[in-house]
Symmetry: C2
């Protein structure tokens, strides 16, 4: 049964790849005629490739070291008894990085050819331009989820061991750490440096080709928002599957009902299938509304998914409770997305109030944004809480002998459900930076006001959709790490029973080791975010210096008769991003390991809980406050509260600048930080069990 379903998964993944290939060639066939756009588009593509190569080169060095450590340590320390299992683990880890890297590479390739083509298609109207942007994004969506389903099925098919999937997941997380966090630093470095020197010092427009940082800025959109976002959701998706598989595999063996693993694979594969159908049905009228088109394809996918999984449940005889938990997770995800959207939507009162507060000066823009950002955490926190509670209660009754295992399985399946339509989410998310770039290229290629207006409309739809998907993906990551907590406990007990130690049945909040861990764990996301933001700042300073150097030493640059050295700027952003991400990632990982060796398993459990709680809170706060400031600025620029150039506009720009690293660097990186830490804790549980100072 498992094999059947796995093969089904692999077939659907291949289908997704085929569809992605078709979409890719379709996008490539679209006309690209404008000289400037072709040239600038080529530079962006080159820059993005350069960054990716540098990133992957460094990553594979790190990955090799980690793979060797895994081979020495997992599942049992090599000095105790070396087994072929250890090699499997290391191979799975490497596979995780490779599959995710492949998806990121595909996404970048298509995004950097779709942007120019979308700009030029806008000459023929909104519909063709939208289709290029959307199909470009869909290539990424199909590649990410296809690679995820394909990889997880393959690893499980070959090694038949859920721990191998955990290692695969850690591989994906390592890549996400580089792609999402590194990409986040890159994009904001370039953005801030370009703004500071261009708009502020020289008074030239945002996308002026005289600015040496302009290509780096456009590259940043692609490496941060396309490759980084893809790696992040690949990571969450794999982690949710890994968490579910660890528990399901144990239940298959012990509980007498052996279709749990099959359920996980089947539902994941159907999620991908539903996303393919959702992408295929996405349509926009000649004068249609792009936001509506994007959102309705999400709802269509959700509906298809619920029906397909219900059918599968009947056909294969899966548990209805698990189905319910899965669909509940998805519904709660959609609801969280919609409520979070309220706080960043430019037609709702938070954005209006923030824009209005800007009249009184930038301090009030900030205070208002921070306040609404704080408020916006409530729906997602409560929603995540409710889906945890309800999916647990739904599933604990499945089998009284294994009530807590089934309950945890229910939570993990709620996470799988929330992430099931991730193919659709990634498609919509990748659409954003493509049309954003298209807008810039339309300006640089001087395609005329009408075209720019169309690309503007598409861009604004991208921003709105992004807000929905961001709330969604943070909550999904939250639910995933809650499921990973269950995995951690399950791993600890596997290790304990092998070692003949007493089983761990609970982590009591009144246990001082747990409490100690919680306090430390809660501080880490704050420290991690702070290090990233300070890193962006340092890196931007380096780049500003380089831009000044170019303007001072290249004659004719200011007049537009000479070309700037774009590559130096890309180089600085890229190498700086890598330099700044290592210490931040290091602090998160080392504090986990230290806490584990000091306080053992209870301290680590507490650490994970504290980390999840404060991480979720800060990620939601920073992402939403950032989105709100961005839209408040756009709202003012659209002519409200005094419009462009007014004092309110200046204040709103300050808010937007603060919001940029909040929403594009620190906020979304916290997801990755939490996942990495959770996986490391699960994988090292044996060591923490045996070697801790306090036990």
């Amino acid at each position: 049964m498992v094999t059947t379903v796995e093969i089904m998964g692999i077939v659907i993944a291949l289908l997704a790849f085929a569809y992605a290939a078709w979409l890719y060639s379709w996008v490539k066939q679209q006309p690209q005629e404008n000289q400037t756009i072709t040239r600038i588009g080529g530079l962006i593509q080159e820059g993005a490739r350069a960054f990716l190569n540098r990133q992957y080169a460094l990553l594979f060095k790190c990955a090799l070291v980690i793979a060797i450590i895994i081979m020495l340590l997992l599942p049992t320390p090599a000095w105790q008894s070396f087994s072929i299992q250890n090699v499997f683990m290391a191979v799975s880890y490497i596979a995780g990085t490779l599959f995710s890297a492949f998806a990121g590479k595909v996404g970048i390739e298509v995004a950097t050819i779709a942007n120019g083509r979308s700009a030029e298609a806008a000459k023929k109207g909104i519909k063709p331009s939208f289709m290029v942007g959307f199909r470009g994004g869909a290539v990424m969506g199909m590649a990410v989820v296809g690679a995820c389903v394909f990889g997880v099925c393959l690893v499980y098919l070959i090694f038949g061991d859920p721990q191998a999937v955990l290692c695969f997941s850690l591989g994906a997380s390592s890549l996400a750490l580089f792609a999402k966090v590194g990409g986040g630093i890159f994009t904001k470095t370039a953005d801030i440096a370009a703004d500071l020197t261009g708009k502020v010092e020289l008074g030239i427009p945002e996308d002026d080709p005289r600015n040496p940082a302009v290509i780096a800025d456009n590259v940043g959109d692609n490496v941060g928002d396309v490759a980084g976002m893809g790696a992040d959701l690949f990571d969450s998706n794999v982690a949710s599957l890994a968490a579910a598989l660890v528990i399901a595999a144990k239940l298959d063996v012990t509980s007498g009902f052996n279709k749990n693993v099959a359920t996980v694979f089947c539902y994941a594969a159907l999620g991908l299938f539903a996303s393919i159908l959702g992408v295929m049905t996405a349509r926009i009228g000649k004068h249609g509304n792009p936001t509506k088109a994007l959102n309705s394809s999400t709802y269509v996918t959700t509906g298809i998914y619920a029906v397909l999984t219900a059918l599968a449940t009947v056909v294969f005889g899966f548990r209805w409770e698990i189905w319910a938990a899965c669909v509940l997770g998805l519904l709660v995800g959609v609801i969280i997305g919609i409520t979070t959207d309220y706080f960043t939507d430019d037609s709702k009162s938070p954005v209006h109030n923030c824009a209005h507060a800007s009249h009184t000066g930038p301090a009030f823009t900030i205070l208002s944004g921070v306040s609404y950002g704080f408020l916006s955490t409530l729906p997602a926190m409560v929603g995540t809480g409710i889906s945890t509670l309800v999916s647990y209660k739904l599933c604990e009754g499945i089998d009284p002998t294994f009530s807590s295992e089934y309950a945890l399985f229910g939570i993990s399946m709620a996470a799988v459900g929330m992430l099931s339509i991730v193919g659709m989410i990634v498609s919509n998310d990748a659409y954003g930076p493509i049309v954003d770039n298209a807008r810039g290229l339309a300006e640089m290629g001087e395609l005329g006001d009408e075209v720019i207006d169309i690309t503007d409309e598409l861009d604004s739809a991208g921003n709105t959709v992004k807000a929905v998907t961001k709330g969604f993906s943070i909550s999904a990551a939250g639910l995933t790490v809650i499921a990973l907590l269950g995995t951690f406990m399950s791993e600890v007990n596997s290790a304990a029973s092998e070692l003949g130690l007493p089983l761990v049945t609970e982590f009591d909040v009144m246990d001082p080791l747990v409490f100690f861990g919680m306090l430390v764990g809660a501080a880490i996301p704050a420290v991690f975010s702070a290090m990233l933001m300070l890193g962006v700042d340092r890196n931007a300073q380096r780049m500003v210096e380089e831009i000044h150097r170019q303007f001072n030493t290249i004659p004719g640059l200011k007049e537009g008769t000479a070309d700037p050295d774009y590559n130096r700027c890309i180089d600085i952003a890229a190498s700086g991003a890598m330099k700044e991400l290592i210490p931040a990632g290091g602090v998160a990982i080392i504090s986990t390991i230290l806490t584990g060796f000091i306080g053992g398993v209870p301290a680590i459990a507490g650490f994970l809980v504290g980390n999840i709680l404060s991480g979720l809170l800060l990620a939601l706060f920073m992402s939403n406050a950032g989105g709100l400031w961005d839209n408040a600025k756009k709202y003012v620029e659209a002519g409200h509260e005094g419009g462009k150039g007014s004092e309110a506009h200046k204040a709103a720009v300050v808010g937007d600048t603060v919001g940029d690293p909040f929403k594009d660097t620190a906020g979304p990186s916290i997801n990755t930080q939490i996942t990495v830490v959770s996986l490391i804790a699960s994988l090292l549980s044996t060591l923490f069990l045996t070697l801790a100072l306090f036990r």
Copy 2:
């Protein structure tokens, strides 16, 4: 034994009152000659009294309602069996509000006479001016801690029931909610409105008497920083004693060692005694350094306390482990204070970096402050974690049969230890606003540059010391609420054993009810802070309108020939503060009660844990970031990075304005929110045990 120690406590409290009375009359005897200072000082005093009267009037209405609810519900619902105990509880609650109100009233009275006298004393040099400020603050310190020790001893002496002390503590928290939160809104409303209309619109200096908001601004310093801070620390101190007493009383009865309650009272009384000695020994040379004088008196108090409690431990035969936990708590508190200071000290790199970042514009001031604010949470979080862990481990070995009870007792005694020198802390803290006001009065009374320089120096010392004591008091509140978690469990089990329900032995983080509670609880401090900040903003807008009205309708006001209507501004700030605090407090309380009735005892335990973790994190972040911005602005004003009037200065002012409600409204109010919620949870535990939806 208990009675002896209680009487000792009462005697020391009376001693503290006597000393406070002597200090008060000493301050009052200091000369006050300058006409303007006398007039303005009188107006400030009147305004502060008006606010206090309004606040207390509203508070007592609320308190009456709560007292009636307590009488109906506690310890057993009146409809089940009405007992005289219920009346005791209600009376204790009312006593808690009254004692705290008394201390606040005394503090305000002395602060509003010491400010002018400190200004005039500066004509004779730094030493006499410092002594007036310090002794004025010490009156508050003695009054707060005296009232606390006196009240707790008295309530326990009369009713002999630790639950009555919990009710007393809830009374203190209710008052703190009004005084600290309401005062926080008041002070920032006035500050922001005065700045916006005065400095920004009219271009008149900060303390110009033509500004209708200027008196409200000065009143704000007193009601927020003196009365509010006093109520906050009164609240924490009583809560720590209540938490310790609940556990100690149970141990006295069950464990066979009956000196635990006596230990609590004895150590608390000796803390007060050490503070008296510390205040008495505070000295400053003729050209001495006021910061050093303030800090060294804190260290002296710490030393005296450690010695006195050690002696008492020998004499009365207390447990050394408990002594060690208590002294450890105090030491960790001092260390946390010092490390936190690093992030706000204007001679250290965070403040310098933030000031330097201001060159690039206000967005970078904000980003840098947020980053360092996040980083600054680490030492306090880890320190609190270590003191929890070590005090638990120290004390769990006292008696193997009662290991977890003694361990919890150890944690609560670490909190008592951390708060033992609170008399000294309050003295130093109250010194700040007195000399801050003195500075303003010296300017308004035109006492000359030399005098203003002296008051400036004293003011700056006040700010530095405030940073230390703030980190200290947030951590102490954190440790107290951890101890209250133990109290909650103990209360739940008392109720469970009475009702014949199974005892609760742990709160498992893997229990979905606990997890649900944690997620909701973690969101509440963010929502609470947001509501307060939005409230300040709304209230400031109202006041700005009033100021505009006065300038438009009072002829001669702008020219300085007519007086503004100061009272209207005070009135608006006061009534607005009360209006804005009710919904914020309501959300915190109602969400606690809802969570309890939905998820029962496990959900509430989770709620408290989530609340503590995110509350501590946000309180530290906001207080420290606010302090850092304040000092970065002062650093620039001292001539660095371009000095006053430069672009960097403008940016630093934006940071300071954002920081004001962070550090003076939201940040410190979170303490109170956590304590209130913890006490309500403990007191309602029986109801949650019997009436919850999920059990």
